[in-house]
Symmetry: C2
Subunit: 236 residues, 2 copies
């Protein structure tokens, strides 16, 4: 019987309300919840983009309007089937509609991805430090599909103060053999875990993960660690 050591807790951050352009999201989170050093704060891309003013008007009655927006946000279109476009964004993310999203935003508007989600995470982290004194890590999450598995999961599109990928290569396994190629994308696992307490329709823009292994809390970047270049990609 052993419990306790190594436990993680996930908490939804409620009471933030609607996020508006110019809001300091880090300050809003710090006001809504008592943060501790070492907490990982996961904030949704939707909230980050709204705070950063990445919302554009769109004529929803024009079937080409969305596709034009998607094309403007993309560097490469990978596949198209009906309404669905799989595109590579300028950040290197491969996702549906290049992240252009018409849900959970005022009618007649679309939300675009942050220009630099790692930078967004760093800014929110600094805002939290200023507002609360707490040294937290920050992950910006978004909801992506996967080619061979149904259903969406939340993944990290930006991070600060936490490793995105942890390289366990060279760590002996339980048999003393050296583990090969075990690089774990902890940022994506944390983003997905946070989704479980945030939900999609509930208007909860952030979650706190408490108890994360302190060895993960170092400078990190989704763009540098997670984005796979087209040259090393077998499926682009």
């Amino acid at each position: 019987m052993s419990l306790g050591a190594g436990a993680l807790t996930l908490l939804p951050v409620t009471g933030i309300g609607e996020v508006r352009r110019g809001d300091r999201l880090g300050a809003l989170v710090a006001r809504a919840v008592a943060l501790h050093d070492g907490d990982v704060v996961v904030v949704t891309q939707k909230a980050v983009s709204k705070a950063e003013g990445r919302v554009v008007p769109i004529d929803e009655s024009d079937p080409d309007a969305r596709l034009a927006l998607v094309a403007a946000e993309s560097v490469r279109l990978l596949r198209r089937r009906g309404d669905l476009v799989i595109a590579e964004t300028r950040h290197g993310f491969v996702c549906a509609n290049a992240g252009v999203d018409l849900s959970n935003v005022e009618a007649g508007h679309a939300v675009l991805l942050p220009l630099d989600p790692d930078r967004s995470a760093r800014r929110i982290r600094a805002e939290i430090r200023r507002a609360s004194g707490a040294e937290v890590a920050v992950i910006v999450s978004d909801t992506f599909g996967r080619p061979w598995r149904r259903g969406l999961t939340d993944v990290a599109i930006g991070c600060a103060g936490i490793a995105a990928v942890v390289d366990l290569r060279g760590t002996p396994d339980a048999y003393g053999r050296e583990l090969r190629a075990t690089e774990v994308c902890v940022a994506d696992e944390l983003a997905g875990a946070a989704e479980l307490v945030m939900g999609k329709a509930a208007g909860v823009p952030a979650a706190v993960v408490r108890g994360v292994d302190p060895s993960l809390l170092r400078p990190g970047s989704v763009r540098a660690e997670v984005v796979r270049s087209a040259s090393e990609d077998l499926f682009r």
Copy 2:
């Protein structure tokens, strides 16, 4: 300030030790940790496969031996680059080396995927019920790569007593607009979350997720809900 409601807790299950062929994994988990009704128990594929005897001898000095095993476990080879083969297993999973794994097993042996991981999950669930009386859900997890993102994450390959994919289509978003195509793969998010407390080299074969939304706790199947058929796949 609001915390508490909707919180999730993740606990590693330690003290199980090495799993051997014929072990009743559910009974081992139930003995190692006090389980509550509504808990989700995540067990690793490695432990499940060992308990089910899905371990085969392999001549590690023969470079073709592993490839022959991979081919035997596959219905389709998608890509090959050097040592890495991306294959579709008979279950419909697309993953590296069709799940054939030489880590965390005795030298000279390889671990194969369970023949029917949903059935494995159902059996473990029944074993837990018998051993403890607790009505839990069970997810069998494995570590998969992703085509466009570096780093591996744990995903669900089998489940019992919990939805694999939750369909939020038709649920109004925070603006009252109907959400479209928001099917969340909660089983994968739970598997990834569990990885965060299990680690790769630590020999922890299970984790408990406590506080999962009770509406998710219904009959589920990874094969039926998550596996995407080749015909609806844009990348196979």
